[in-house]
């Protein structure tokens, strides 16, 4: 037997037919669209442009969008592999050498698909590693994942534009039982990976989802994303909270904070990495705290942590969140004093915010002009 490169006609599986390709492409297109839009939403929540404020209601909004982002990305992994297997024979089409216009359009199509695949694989792989908080690379994840997300979305739009009539033909064709069996493999394996990970954010699945990033454990019933030791936190013996505003400052000890009227709210911590967990938080509403201290309300706040350095040592609490009656400077969680890993002596907890901005170990609130 002589070995030679394969040709498209060497592939006989019913997977390599337009009826299968078009359906897988449609599902994958839906997964990528959800992933891209929720990714943009998360980017806007963390790095809001001047004209945009992330809403505070519903309180689980960020939890929902970010869970959809991560789970649609997980679902896209088997769908992408199935889709590529479906069109794999086309990789071996010999390029038409003439006329030059046909060669050129063939090369342009190949190049656009290469860009799409580089971007799609990169987004799924880097996102999956980020969910596992593992970073075996040297590029800056946030910036690169955002940039390549735009490339993937753009290249996908070009691809859909080029293939629109072909997809329509494929969808119009009714798949026979053998083709339906191929599609069943795709959606069953997609269901399996979603089920294996969704417990990171869906509480009742946490014991089923054996590959979820979040486990049911953690002190006070909540996972810890960054421990006090990792952040280098040392709470001073005579800790007090500083509130500063243009024209004044105030200091409050922990006892004084605890003596103010407390409010309990059930709010989720929803992390960019796709896990989330709900808890009962007790503390002083930020708006009431500012009023008690004599500071102006209705403005944005800069929140500073005891953490000496790092990307998330400070956060900006937008005016809308600062004014929300459910935004608390929490002293307790699930009926207990905050543990050091959950932000003792006090932390910010606001409705519908990315977890990294729910600053722990708060030491200073600065009302911005």
């Amino acid at each position: 037997m002589r070995l030679r490169p394969p040709r498209p006609e060497d592939f006989h599986s019913p997977a390599h037919t337009p009826a299968v390709t078009a359906r897988l492409g449609l599902w994958l297109g839906v997964a990528f669209t959800v992933c891209f839009l929720t990714g943009l939403a998360s980017h806007a929540a963390q790095h809001p442009p001047g004209w945009f404020t992330w809403p505070t209601r519903p309180i689980s909004l960020y939890r929902i969008t970010q869970s959809a982002h991560v789970l649609s990305g997980v679902a896209a992994i088997p769908l992408l592999l199935a889709k590529l297997w479906s069109v794999y024979p086309r990789l071996f089409i010999r390029p038409p050498l003439r006329p030059p216009a046909r060669l050129l359009s063939h090369a342009a199509e190949r190049l656009s698909i290469l860009v799409l695949l580089c971007a799609a694989f990169f987004e799924l792989a880097s996102g999956l590693f980020n969910a596992a908080q593992s970073y075996p690379w040297r590029f800056f994840f946030v910036e690169t994942h955002y940039a390549v997300g735009w490339i993937a979305a753009g290249a996908l739009a070009v691809h859909i534009g080029v293939k629109l009539s072909r997809t329509g033909t494929g969808l119009a064709e009714r798949p026979d039982p053998r083709r339906r069996a191929i599609l069943r493999i795709a959606w069953l394996s997609t269901g399996a990976v979603v089920l294996a990970t969704a417990g990171a954010t869906v509480p009742w699945l946490s014991r089923v989802s054996v590959l979820a990033w979040r486990s049911p454990g953690g002190p006070q019933g909540l996972p810890v994303n960054r421990t006090a030791a990792a952040a280098g936190i040392r709470v001073p013996a005579h800790w007090s909270l500083t509130i500063a505003w243009p024209g004044g400052t105030a200091q409050l000890t922990l006892d004084e904070l605890a003596a103010l009227r407390q409010r309990t709210a059930t709010l989720p911590i929803a992390c960019v990495e796709g896990w989330s967990a709900s808890a009962n938080w007790t503390g002083v509403p930020i708006a009431a705290l500012l009023t008690a201290a004599g500071a102006p309300t209705g403005r944005a706040l800069r929140v500073s942590s005891l953490e000496p350095a790092g990307l998330y040592a400070t956060s900006l609490l937008p005016a809308r969140h600062a004014a929300d009656p459910l935004t608390l400077l929490a002293l307790r969680v699930n009926g207990q004093t905050l543990s050091p890993d959950h932000g003792y002596p006090c932390r910010i907890i606001a409705p519908s915010r990315p977890g990294v901005l729910q600053t722990k170990w708060v030491t200073r609130l600065e009302v911005l002009p």
Binding site: Y88, F122, A125, A147, I151, L164, S215, G217, P219
Partner: protein
């Protein structure tokens, strides 16, 4: 220009603009990111897809019944995908400190249980083939004649 042509032109031009915007943002990261960008298509086209093809050929020899073969393929594909998404949990070259409640499961055991569950599910599917998808020996054809007089 008809509507379909207009939609196609909008998708291609808008897509090119979006990709260009992403490329402009990507540029500063490209020196460190390019290996990760190009690795996906190379690994897929040279390793993953040929492995799927070889597995498919072998499966075709081992399981001759198409319906049962589809269930065997379901079990194998689902196991492989589960193993793939477990990679970042099992392979941590620069481990961040493990935090309580995050990434602290026994993922090796979890993957094993998930794969066993997938294979059991596929086996049940394959076993059910014999009394559901079998063509009935008495029926000459599964095709129904077109209905008349609607």
């Amino acid at each position: 220009m008809n509507a379909v042509a207009a939609v196609r032109a909008a998708l291609v031009l808008g897509g090119a603009a979006a990709a260009g915007y992403g490329g402009w943002h990507l540029w500063p990261q490209l020196p460190t990111a390019w290996t990760w960008l190009i690795a996906g298509p190379i690994l897929h086209d040279a390793v993953v897809a040929p492995a799927v093809g070889v597995a498919g050929l072998l499966l075709g020899r081992l399981v001759t019944d198409p319906a049962r073969r589809a269930w065997a393929a379901t079990g194998l594909a689902t196991s492989a995908i589960l193993a793939l998404i477990a990679v970042p949990l099992l392979w941590r070259p620069q481990p961040a400190p493990i935090n309580p409640g995050l990434h602290d499961r026994d993922y090796g055991l979890g993957l094993l249980l998930a794969v066993i569950a997938a294979l059991i599910g596929a086996a049940i599917g394959a076993a059910s083939v014999s009394w559901t998808d079998r063509p009935k020996p008495t029926a000459p054809s599964t095709r129904q004649p077109p209905e008349q007089g609607q």
